[in-house]
């Protein structure tokens, strides 16, 4: 008996050994291929990789769960000595929620919109009979306080749609902690948040991990975020472990080439290629936005926005979600009509509505969407979709169009064989390249890029950015590049405009913004971007920037 006890003590909190998960379909693809690691109490393991690398699948396996369509082919997932893969549903239910808890990427999808937040937070503790209702409520209020949520009592009774995304994400962390679990699984909990909000949530996560001494698996594609929290990091690719080691070693002395690539993609302090120097004499103004205002249901979204963009250059528009930057892009494209203000393209007035724009004006302004999935018609072949743009905007005949299609595909570095495929047969990066090709087919003067890389994995995003820069060098097209990511802006923009609450609060050269950030907001924005070094979060929290109170509140 003593022996058994000793064995139990020697057993780590979580031990995953040669975990092998395959797609249950006919082709037995390995989703996770023989991954092993152990986790002790109080330890944080970061799982890093691109989408499809198997990070979330491993995270779910640590709950003894498997997505439909996948099957565990072998391996051990042992939590405190009991193998989760061999437990029945009842045994798993006893562990889940109370001993092992899960924090999902999208809090808004994880909460039931019809119930108050507090009720959902205490549900696990209360249902499992771990705490009485009033105890659970007290615990939830305490957690809300620790997580920096305003007025815990009122927050408890609120419904999910009444609070912000960052607050909801914190409420979900409270939900996970309420039953006092020993292991937390964070599945990209900050990916959907703005950088400034992300900072607050990261601080909250770091604090609760430290205070409660729980173990955690932190899944992310962002190395800089993981570096703040994890003691150990595992880098995954195609379901295989590429590198596994202490956080410090992985970040400072990566062994695998793939890790080095990821690090390089993450920390591009200087533009990858030198931007083409603008002509000494000022190039002609291509686009002018003059005093554009727009309201959505009486809420003012754009307030007297004025911007200018030169031929063949890139204006980066940066701001948080909800700041009105995408709305501005849609006004320029003609998809939204402003309440007042004027647009000028190459000196001529650009009508507000699409139906008033001439074919030439339609041709001149193209749009690249954030999500390439919805920007391509799933039931039309790629070739047809690009060819349609050629039909609409050029006078080429059929054989000429086919030749041009091949040219365009070469220009965006895609194989011609993709023309015969449907969008579902392409990867996210390929789809975005197709969207770029479709925009280029019109030979536009201006492309409005609405966060074209934010839905892509870092390495793929790098490729797309490099492509956009090359296209600009070759064709002299101008970009209005909308983004929330400063690192992206650094690589592509010649000039920047910062938008906050529908106002342009800064417009000018990028260097000016970086070297001497005007105003507290931009400084916050700059300083909230996680840096790729261990200890950044603590440093950042020790010297709060102006405006932090507002974020934490």
């Amino acid at each position: 008996m003593l022996k058994g006890w000793a064995r139990k003590m020697a057993e780590p909190l979580l031990r995953i050994e040669a975990l092998h998960i395959v797609a249950a379909e006919n082709d037995a693809r390995s989703v996770v291929d023989r991954v092993s690691f152990t986790l002790e109490s109080g330890e944080v393991l970061g799982l890093i990789g691109e989408s499809g690398a198997g990070k979330s699948t491993i995270g779910l396996a640590a709950l003894g769960s498997c997505r439909p369509g996948m099957r565990v082919a072998g391996g051990v997932v042992s939590f405190r000595g009991s193998d989760l893969l061999r437990l029945d549903e009842r045994g798993l239910r006893r562990l889940r929620g109370s001993k092992i808890a899960y924090v999902a990427q999208s809090a808004s999808a994880a909460f039931n919109p019809a119930l108050p937040i507090g009720e959902q937070v205490i549900e696990v503790a209360y249902r499992h009979g771990l705490l009485r209702r009033d105890q659970a409520r007290a615990k939830a209020l305490e957690l809300f306080r620790e997580l920096g949520l305003p007025q815990p009592e009122t927050f408890y009774a609120r419904y999910p749609h009444q609070v912000s995304g960052g607050q909801l994400q914190r409420a979900m962390i409270a939900m996970a902690l309420c039953a006092g679990p020993e292991l937390l699984i964070f599945d990209e909990p900050t990916t959907a948040l703005d950088v400034t909000t992300q900072l607050g949530v990261l601080a909250a996560i770091a604090e609760v991990i430290r205070r409660y001494g729980v173990a955690a698996i932190y899944i992310s594609h962002d190395l800089a975020v993981v570096a703040q929290l994890a003691q150990k990091i595992m880098v995954l690719r195609h379901g295989r472990c590429v590198e596994y080691g202490d956080a410090e070693q992985v970040i400072q002395a990566p062994r695998a080439a793939y890790t080095r690539e990821l690090l390089a993609a993450q920390a591009p302090s200087a533009p990858l290629a030198a931007l083409p120097a603008l002509d000494p004499e000022r190039p002609a103004r291509l686009l002018e936005v003059e005093g554009v205002s727009l309201d959505y249901a009486k809420r003012s979204v754009l307030k007297q926005v004025s911007l200018g963009l030169e031929e063949g250059s890139t204006l980066g528009v940066i701001g948080e979600s909800g700041s009105g930057k995408s709305t501005l892009g849609r006004v320029i494209c003609g998809l939204l009509r402003p309440r007042q203000g004027r647009l000028r393209l190459g000196g001529e007035t650009l009508p507000a509505g699409l139906d008033q724009r001439s074919r030439e004006q339609l041709r001149a302004v193209q749009l690249i969407h954030q999500s390439p999935d919805s920007a391509l018609n799933p039931r039309q072949k790629i070739g047809r979709q690009i060819e349609r743009a050629l039909c609409c905007f050029t006078t080429l005949n059929a054989p000429q169009r086919r030749a041009r299609l091949r040219e365009l595909m070469a220009q965006v570095e895609l194989g011609v064989e993709l023309l015969e495929r449907y969008p579902a047969g392409l990867s996210g990066g390929q789809k975005q390249r197709v969207c770029i090709a479709r925009a280029l087919a019109a030979e536009p003067r201006l492309i409005v890029c609405d966060e074209p890389t934010s839905a892509l994995d870092p390495l793929v995003a790098q490729g797309v950015l490099a492509l956009l820069r090359r296209v600009q060098r070759e064709s002299g097209v101008a970009y209005l590049f909308i983004t929330h990511d400063l690192a992206v802006l650094r690589q592509i923009a010649d000039r920047v405009a910062v938008i906050k609450d529908g106002d342009v609060v800064y417009q000018g050269a990028l260097e000016g913004l970086l070297n001497d950030p005007p105003g507290g907001y931009i400084r916050d924005l700059l300083s909230a971007v996680p840096e790729l070094r261990i200890g950044w979060l603590e440093e950042r929290l020790e010297r709060p920037a102006a405006g932090d109170n507002e974020n934490v509140a």
Binding site: P68, L367, H369, L376, R388, Y422
Partner: protein, 302 residues
């Protein structure tokens, strides 16, 4: 797709559907007697000469059922096609254009919907001549209203997708956007709706005939057959239940087939669909379809 890939249920359903189609197309040759020929006593038991027995006037029940299938199916199909052509067109235009066109179409539809469909049909058909084309038209117009609601919400969901915006930025005409961008992506839901709607129209037609306002005797149809033989139930004659049984079989066959088609109609180029991960169907439209179905069922029960 070869027969090998069909499930057992789909094979049975396909066979059933073929039988109904055969009855429709080949009624004059399949039926042993003309529909209105008296072959024996009224409500005679099944025999060698009349396999299913006779009806209230001594006509062969099997022959009348086969002829009735022909009439019921043709009228329903025509009405369903009218309902879908009109409903989808109006719904797409309303959903895509918005503004006053949307308001006009929706408010008109509200007016039509505010009166129960059966009452509508009763009023219209008691005023107008009860000819076949008129019945088809009335059924089609009334059901078009419901199809319109589904099509509108589909169009609204799909029109917010990026590829429709890109089409608008290209300056595409309404026709192109409707038929090339929206219709192919709405087809899955519309097909499911068609299978349901077809059966509801059939039920509706049968109800009208049962009340004497649908297809007029002596032309046989399923509702009429039930009405003519309803008094026989008291005497233990089950002739009135036969058309109901036929209708139930048809409903099951059509829905099994359409479900089979839908489950195979995953997005082109995608891997086979993983169970549990729903297709790229806009949520609100799916809810809308369910709502429309629930409403339809409730109404039929009431």
């Amino acid at each position: 797709m070869s027969i090998k890939h069909l499930t057992a249920a789909e094979l049975v359903a396909a066979a059933g559907l073929c039988l109904f189609l055969a009855c429709t197309l080949l009624a004059p040759w399949l039926a042993p007697y003309p529909p209105d020929q008296v072959v024996g006593f009224s409500w005679a038991a099944p025999s060698q000469s009349a396999w299913l027995g006779t009806d209230n006037l001594g006509r062969d029940l099997l022959s009348r059922l086969i002829w009735g299938t022909r009439i019921s199916l043709v009228v329903t199909l025509a009405a369903a096609l009218i309902a879908f052509a009109l409903g989808v067109l109006l719904g797409f235009i309303a959903g895509l254009r918005g503004g006053w066109i949307d308001q006009l179409i929706c408010r008109c539809s509200d007016v039509v919907m505010s009166i129960p469909t059966l009452i509508w049909a009763l009023i219209v058909l008691s005023l107008l001549p009860k000819t076949l084309p008129m019945i088809i038209l009335v059924l089609g117009l009334i059901e078009a209203n419901r199809v319109m609601r589904v099509a509108r919400s589909l169009a609204m969901d799909i029109s917010t997708q990026g590829f429709v915006e890109v089409a608008r930025l290209r300056g595409e005409r309404l026709r192109w956007i409707l038929w090339r961008e929206i219709f192919p992506n709405a087809l899955t839901v519309l097909l499911a709706e068609f299978a349901m709607r077809f059966i509801f129209i059939m039920l509706f037609l049968s109800a009208l005939s049962f009340l004497g306002l649908g297809i007029q005797p002596p032309t046989p149809d399923w509702g009429g057959l039930a009405r003519e033989n309803k008094d026989g139930i008291i005497f233990g004659v089950w002739a009135a239940l036969l058309p109901g049984l036929a209708l139930a079989c048809l409903a099951v066959c059509i829905n099994v087939i359409v479900d089979g088609v839908l489950s195979r109609r995953s997005t082109p180029g995608a891997r086979p669909r993983v169970p549990g991960l729903s297709a790229a169907l806009p949520v609100s439209s799916a809810v809308d379809v369910q709502a429309a179905d629930a409403e339809g069922v409730g109404e039929k029960n009431g």
